[in-house]
């Protein structure tokens, strides 16, 4: 069955619907889609801060400090209401929130960029009840300040390393200078069982006792062999380990400090791989330097979204 409306009536209905839509749109724009509460009447405030940050924190590269922060989140146990702060160098690791709505909140926390900053914190308060006309404080503490200081100090290069050549195969690891070619004497690397490599195939074998350290092995024969039989060709350092290469290159060294033609530690790379766009989330960029004498090759990886070294690969006798 079809319903016919007179033109005028149809127009009136259309206008009514459109007018209502317009009024609702204007109301939504003016007042917002959800109800707003004037929380200042509760006269509450909460101060969040990080206590006991050692001075050694300042020894971290600026690029890493820029991305490091402690976040603390108060989540209401009865509703979706959430208050979150980020404590970082910019705000002096201290921030306060005013006008919290009274109620019971769960406290969560964490550290951004902890992988490179080595910052670990703890907050002793798990739950908090906010009441009217009250001031609250939620401090975060260093989880293990002495360990943090030790790790940071391990990142400071010894004189011997500062004067060493980048292709000397020497690195400082946990405060000790080691020879990369003999790294298998310092750490344990267990080749995966039942993994067979095709000719020329390369794999990384991670250390079983040192996080972020891997050796690179390659099948340099003409037949399939077990991974454990492959030739040791290089070492890769990634994630939060405190390796220091000669000239004080660490995980976290900025692009400018490393590769600036005149002011960088290494100068212009011999060649690059990956995306030419560094920092933006497109693809990783690898800066490669080759030593003509030894044939050794060192590659600095800048993962997408980072403007500092995220991993370093040192390979022996590549002769490129």
């Amino acid at each position: 069955m079809q319903i016919y409306l007179y033109d005028g009536r149809e127009l009136a209905i259309k206008r009514f619907v459109l007018s209502m839509t317009f009024i609702m749109l204007v109301a939504a724009v003016v007042a917002g889609c959800s109800k707003s509460i004037d929380a200042s009447v509760y006269n509450t405030d909460c101060e969040f801060y990080l206590e006991g940050l050692p001075e050694e924190y300042n020894l971290l590269p600026d690029e890493i400090k820029k991305e490091t922060g402690v976040w603390i989140r108060l989540g209401s146990v009865t509703s979706d209401r959430v208050y979150e702060v980020l404590l970082n160098e910019e705000n002096g690791f201290r921030q306060s929130v005013e006008g919290l709505i009274p109620g019971k909140y769960e406290v969560n926390y964490g550290v951004t960029n902890s992988r490179y900053s080595r910052l670990r914190v703890k907050v002793d308060i798990n739950n908090i009840i906010i009441e009217k006309n009250n001031h609250y404080e939620i401090p975060a503490y260093m989880a293990d300040p002495s360990e943090f200081v030790r790790e940071i100090m391990n990142l400071q290069p010894q004189d011997e390393l500062l004067n060493a050549d980048i292709f000397s195969r020497k690195v400082q690891y946990n405060g000790r200078i080691i020879d990369l070619y003999n790294i298998r004497d310092e750490m344990k690397f267990v080749a995966p069982k039942d993994k067979r490599l095709a000719p020329k195939e390369t794999i990384e074998i991670p250390s079983s006792d040192h996080e972020g350290v891997s050796i690179i092995v390659q099948n340099q024969t003409q037949k399939y062999i077990e991974a454990s039989e492959a030739t040791f060709t290089g070492v890769r350092f990634s994630r939060n380990n405190n390796v220091v290469f000669p000239k004080a290159i660490t995980l976290g060294t900025s692009l400018r400090d490393l590769a600036h033609a005149s002011e960088g530690i290494m100068g212009t790379p011999d060649y690059c791989l990956g995306s030419p766009v560094v920092y933006y989330n497109i693809d990783a960029t690898i800066l490669v330097y080759v030593d003509k004498n030894s044939g050794d090759r060192i590659s600095f990886h800048y993962e997408s979204g980072k403007s500092y070294v995220s991993s370093i690969t040192y390979e022996f006798e590549k002769y490129e």
Binding site: R256, H260, G264, P269, C272, L273, P276, V277
Partner: protein, 285 residues
């Protein structure tokens, strides 16, 4: 007219002119956005070009790997014909559904914008009419023009009217200038960033990368820039068309004339007496 009435009229004109401002802006913004929506295809084109480049790069970087993948798909298509047909049907159905939904969404948004424009423009025109009539009455034939100076917001409204019309009439050359500036700035930004961080020029930097990576980086950049520039230029062209459909009436009111191509803007058709007649004619009526 008594002095009290004149004061009352001045206040009324200023208040109504103030009210007319947001309506003028809303109606204009609604029109500009509506025109921009008609360029949705350009945005889709840029997206498709980027996806095409990603596929092309995958082929160039690892031709055997890509061909292996394609071969595998062909084999799967041959051996699993029925499943492929079902999958394709589902993709087709969902694709059609998605395109229909997009079309519906765009139509709905345009409908809402059109309605917002219609309402706000009607309001604006009506307020303009009242202000103009009252202003003319305030002046009269033999009276002082000092009363006119008191209607500050009325004159500001007329000025805004005029400025908008002028800006829109220059929108096409402005969009060309904006495109050139954007392109120039992007090249400068890239060069200065590379120079600051690496101390070398763009071309030296690109020469450090394998030819494929460097070429695709340049291609990505060009596709993005060309896409943005096309969007700016087409928006400029669309808004220029809008500017062509705007003109001042005898009274100085910014008029929206019917669209020459599809008659989208219907205001002057529905209320010609409001939009085309001069205030003197209307008063005479």
């Amino acid at each position: 007219m008594s002095a009290l009435m004149k004061v009352f009229n001045v206040i009324k004109i200023n208040l109504l002119s103030l009210l007319a401002f947001p309506l003028l802006l809303i109606s204009l913004i609604a029109q500009l956005i509506m025109k921009a929506f008609e360029k949705a295809l350009v945005f889709l084109g840029v997206g498709a070009a980027v996806i095409g480049l990603v596929i092309l790069k995958a082929i160039c970087k690892n031709p055997s790997g890509f061909l292996e993948g394609v071969t595998l798909i062909i084999v799967l298509l041959c051996f699993l014909g029925i499943i492929s047909v079902i999958v394709l049907t589902v993709v087709y159905v969902f694709g059609s559904l998605a395109s229909a939904l997009s079309l519906l969404l765009i139509t709905a948004i345009k409908f809402v914008l059109d309605f917002i424009f219609e309402i706000s423009y009607r309001g604006y025109s009506a307020l303009y009419e009242i202000c103009e009539t009252d202003h003319d009455a305030l002046l009269g034939k033999s009276q002082s023009r000092y009363w006119s100076f008191a209607c500050v917001f009325w004159h500001v409204l007329r000025l805004v009217n005029f400025v908008i019309s002028k800006i829109l009439s220059f929108i096409l050359p402005l969009s060309v200038i904006a495109s050139i500036c954007l392109f120039g700035y992007s090249v400068f930004f890239i060069h200065s960033t590379i120079n600051e961080n690496l101390g070398i020029g763009v071309f030296t930097y690109l020469s450090l990368f394998p030819a494929v990576d460097a070429a695709f980086a340049v291609l990505y950049y060009l596709v993005l820039m060309v896409g943005i520039i096309i969007v700016i230029l087409t928006l400029g062209y669309e808004w220029k068309e809008l500017a062509d459909s705007l003109e001042f009436g005898d009274s100085g009111l910014l008029l929206v004339l019917p669209d020459k191509t599809n008659g989208q803007i219907q205001l002057s058709e529905t209320k010609p007496e409001l939009l085309t007649g001069s205030s003197e004619e209307r008063k005479a009526d």
